[in-house]
């Protein structure tokens, strides 16, 4: 899933403090799972803002809506009829949702209410960690199913670097060395001999380096 984290309330207040009719827009997908932008968080943020404006003796209308998703036209269309009631929207979907809202509702300011962090997993409640950087060409088949691009601080493709100590990364003792994990996994798979295959220079043109990306699937179009 796309993992996001709540923005500090001060930052959101700064975004919307001059507005009078604000919609807090949640998303029922990834950001709900990572407890940053679902229905519950919409309620919490709306309450905090109401409190702030009350303390400022300002009358501000704050409404709450949570859509099924903010990355599909059909769900964003569900609020078309009410959008004219607001002079600002705080979207607490990921950055994708914020932008898709802004594209669709061109004349309404859409502010981000979360920081979009990474593609990751729920390790335990309250702990989400990164697994994928969406480089556009998956190499997991040759790395024992563990991604050095997402999980090595230097995205070293032929690791580990000299900074691997006792299975941890040189930048932080809390972070596993991705290459230690890869080696352990190759060992468990009885495939450690594969470690010696040199990983060739990566074609980063499918990554961010190649510019904004798209996937076109003619077979599913229409």
């Amino acid at each position: 899933m796309i993992v996001a984290d709540k923005k500090p309330i001060e930052e959101i207040i700064e975004e919307v403090k001059n507005n009078e009719k604000i919609l807090i827009l949640g998303c029922n997908e990834c950001v709900t799972v990572c407890e940053a932008g679902g229905k519950k968080e919409v309620g919490v943020l709306a309450s905090a803002l109401r409190m702030y404006f009350l303390n400022q003796s300002k009358e501000v209308k704050i409404d709450e809506i949570t859509l099924e998703r903010q990355c599909d036209h059909e769900y964003l269309e569900e609020i078309r009829d009410v959008m004219d009631q607001y002079d600002a929207v705080v979207s607490i979907a990921c950055g994708v949702g914020v932008q898709f809202m802004a594209e669709k509702y061109h004349s309404t300011p859409i502010y981000p209410g979360v920081d979009t962090c990474f593609l990751g997993v729920t390790e335990e409640r309250g702990l989400w960690t990164e697994r994928c950087q969406a480089c556009g060409h998956c190499i997991l088949a040759s790395t024992g199913g563990i991604c050095p691009i997402a999980r090595c601080a230097k995205r070293v493709l032929n690791g580990p670097c000299g900074g691997s100590a006792k299975g941890k990364c040189e930048i932080d003792k809390e972070i596993d060395c991705a290459w230690q994990l890869i080696i352990d996994r190759l060992e468990a798979l009885d495939r450690l001999d594969e470690y010696e295959a040199l990983c060739p220079l990566k074609d980063w043109s499918t990554d961010r380096a190649g510019g904004p990306r798209k996937v076109v699937r003619e077979d599913v179009q229409q």
Binding site: N158, G163, K166, I171, Q180, I183, L198
Partner: protein
């Protein structure tokens, strides 16, 4: 091994002499004297001088410019290049720039993470990793081509090196990792500072058993302790360095004013010991902020005068 480049370092190794290298770190400023003075101090005692590339991710004068300074003094630089700060365009471009000054040695590294340095908020590049930089330098030299396939006019002619750390984790892949670097085309290795002789010798033996040492020269890295505090720091704080307790104790049991001398003594004993170890082809003396001791270390280790080669 057959000599493939005009590198003096390669010629000395190929002639069967113990090679001696050391290093200078460029300054946090643009004063060229900082580099030339350090080089002047050690030049007659080493065959080649490594120039570090923004080591520990602290911004400094660039390695290439400092190497050119050494070259203009008639010395033999080893251009250290990390993959942290440059993409494949910049890496190839800097290799050509170095080649235009007939810099004949390159050491391919990934570099410390930027979070250790003075620009912790900066991006890192790592378009290539150190193994891929080895491949790139060899490809440019041997094929005379850019990674993009175009021909290089006057290709670089560099002796290609890399680092190896027998003490990093996990130990079981330390030899396979060297094998990988050899397969990538590395020609010489400068090892991490060695204090745990037993482990280093085991690594070397295992590497030799696999036939790796027929294809690569190993320069054993040594670093003298300036004090007992430094020995403790290296033991406890520096990842990938192993300092046996008895060495820390030996430094700590020495009166403070005698500790620098004891550190040098230990370093010389280490070199003497390593001279007897099969597979050691030379020494990389890293006297950190203590360059002035390199002549004494080299001289007392019986490695002076340095040989001359054609």
């Amino acid at each position: 091994m057959k000599v493939k480049t005009p590198s003096k370092l390669e010629k000395i190794l190929a002639a069967g002499h113990y090679a001696v290298t050391s290093e200078v770190g460029p300054p946090r400023g643009s004063d060229p004297e900082n580099i030339t003075k350090k080089a002047e101090m050690i030049k007659d005692y080493v065959d080649a001088i490594n120039v570090t590339d923004n080591q520990t991710s602290v911004t400094r004068m660039c390695s290439l410019a400092a190497c050119i300074r050494l070259k203009l003094m008639g010395l033999e630089p080893v251009l250290q290049m990390v993959t942290r700060d440059r993409n494949r365009i910049a890496l190839q471009s800097d290799i050509l720039g170095a080649a235009s000054y007939d810099i004949h040695n390159i050491l391919c590294l990934s570099g410390d993470h930027q979070s250790f340095g003075d620009c912790a908020q900066g991006q890192n590049v790592h378009d290539l990793d150190s193994m891929q930089l080895i491949q790139t330098a060899r490809y440019m030299r041997d094929e005379g081509k850019f990674l993009g396939g175009g021909d290089i006019g006057r290709p670089p002619n560099m002796f290609v090196g890399a680092a190896a750390n027998p003490f990093a984790d996990p130990f079981e892949i330390r030899v396979p990792r060297l094998a990988k670097k050899v397969a990538a085309g590395v020609e010489f290795i400068q090892s991490q500072c060695i204090y745990n002789m037993e482990k280093f010798e085991l690594w070397l033996k295992m590497s030799g058993d696999r036939g790796l040492l027929d294809n690569v020269y190993i320069l054993a890295g040594v670093t003298p302790f300036k004090s007992a505090g430094m020995a403790r720091y290296m033991k406890n704080r520096v990842p990938g360095i192993e300092v046996p307790d008895e060495l820390v104790k030996r430094m700590a049991d020495t009166p403070k004013e005698k500790q620098p001398e004891e550190g040098i003594n230990i370093c010389i004993e280490q070199i003497e010991h390593l001279k007897g170890v099969e597979g050691v082809h030379g020494f990389h003396v890293m006297a950190i902020e203590w360059e002035e001791m390199v002549p004494e270390i080299v001289e007392r280790s019986g490695l002076y005068p340095r040989p001359t080669v054609e």
